[in-house]
Amino acid sequence: MSHGHDEAPPEPEIPAGEGNPGGLLTKLRAKAKSPAQLQAELKKTQVWKSIFRHKLDDSPRNRSLAVLSSVFLHLHPARINRDAVRYSFTWGMGGITFYLFVLLTLTGTLLMFYFHPSKGEAYRDIMFLQHDVPFGNLLRNMHRWCAHAMVITTWLHMMRVFMSGSYKPPREFNWNIGVMLLLFTMLLSFTGYLLPDDQLGFWAVTVGTNMARATPVMGHEGPFGPELGFTAFNDVRFALLGGSVVDANALLRAYIWHCIAIPIIAAVLLIVHFWRIRKDGAISGPAPVMLASEITD
């Protein structure tokens, strides 16, 4: 571990007298321990052993324990298919998507400290973030671009899973969880779009939620909606916006969906998604190719 530290050159003798009263410094020096000794003793302390449960020297056992005994790493198996680490198989897309989700949670939490989800204040808070808050503009930009990037990486992750046939048995259910996560990723981005309360967000959300008017049976402009008594004041769009137009209630609802409700739903689905990867036999490949002539059914 500590190559190069064991044999420190001997310290020059310090004469007793000024700076070394009664040879105290010499005595202390004689008692001093080398960094390697200190390190070895530190690892014997109760504090150290309570935190790190296994040794760190490079052995197959410790390599496995490094993954298995860490709460952050234990979603991984200890060993994986040697070809599965190839970039050309997974493209790293699922992992990158999750990492962007983490970045978005961090930047989003910081943004929440500066944001009031109410008309008038919301827009001013964004201006405040852009012009006054230290690194506020960088924070907002990061959140925006990570969100867009996450939509793209989610699509590409779906494409990779399809192209490698990874949704096939036994992973059918996890593909379905993934489809739901795809939907919630876009809904997360969509609900965030309104929050700056500017023209861009307002009209994008107006266009988007106007679709809900036309919901069959449940929208006041959809097929059979009016016949069932739905108006602009009680249909599904009203429920989404908390009103008949995009206004203060819509801003508050978008905020709560965006910051609390959908992240919780998405987090639960993520837990299931990751859990199922392991339970369905870890990552799907690169699996040995099969031949049509070998299939009997």
């Binding site: 060993r79 040697r82 867009h148 096939k168 876009m186 309360d197 402009e221 097929p223 799907s284």
Partner: protein
Amino acid sequence: MDWHQVWELVSLPDNVPIVLLLLMVPFYTWLAFREAGRNDRLIAALELDPDMRKTHHRVPYPWKPGWPKTVHVWPHLLKREFLAAIIVTTVMIVWSIVLDAPLEEPANPSLTMNPSKAPWYFLGLQELLVYFDPWIAGVVLPSIILMGLMAIPYIDVNPLGNGYYTWKQRKFAIATFLFGFLVLWVLLVIIGTFIRGPGWLWFNLGDTWDHHRVDHQVNYDLHDFFGVTGVWQVFFFGLAFVGGFCAIVGGITHLWVVKCMPLMRKRMSLVQYATMLQLWVLMIFVVAKIIARLAFTVKNFWVTPWFNV
């Protein structure tokens, strides 16, 4: 050619992701097919050589007897994950320093933005609004897309290609998926972003976005071409056309499957097969409606007092 207009569109901060999409989607499509090609060549070699089947490890990557089939996650996977995290962080920080997130004027319900666009990832659906009533484009089709995606693992009965890239073993599945994803989703997003200008009119890339442009195109419902009048006559004409269209497309697809993919049909239950056929016919129907509108100025196939299709 109005290069200024092109630059304005491409450099709009919120459009940068679509530029990114334009580069990344073709790259990853190519990457998937490169991997598929490697596997397909290996499969062809194995089919020809029974001895090789028994000895080969069946992955087109180098491997020697005695090499372990698995590696430790620490460090072989974790170092890659760490590297990916560093690269993504760097890219996101640089992107965030170079480009500011857009902020328009404060929301003003009395001043409509023109064009008024949904967020870019929903522009494919907004583009579908040109061709379908809002209840279809905005509610029914997205629901069917989601349900169709969820149905995929249960209607794809092909046991081959599980966990490796291949084209030759899964031609039908891959062609259908890529058509849906690349053409009906990504291409429509790109059209909605770069081609649709003020009034949601079609502006070729490089045309100046003229806010005063008036489109004189007149669209007809299909029954107008045949001189059908009267509410019920129109209703039954449309019903017959849509029903006939689906029956013919479904029938042709069925014949094609039976003739060219008999094994697929044999492996499927009736429910699986019917679901697959319905989704397939629906996809063709969406394409037919887009072509009918763009090429033949047809607005609706089926007009009823309650809804139009």
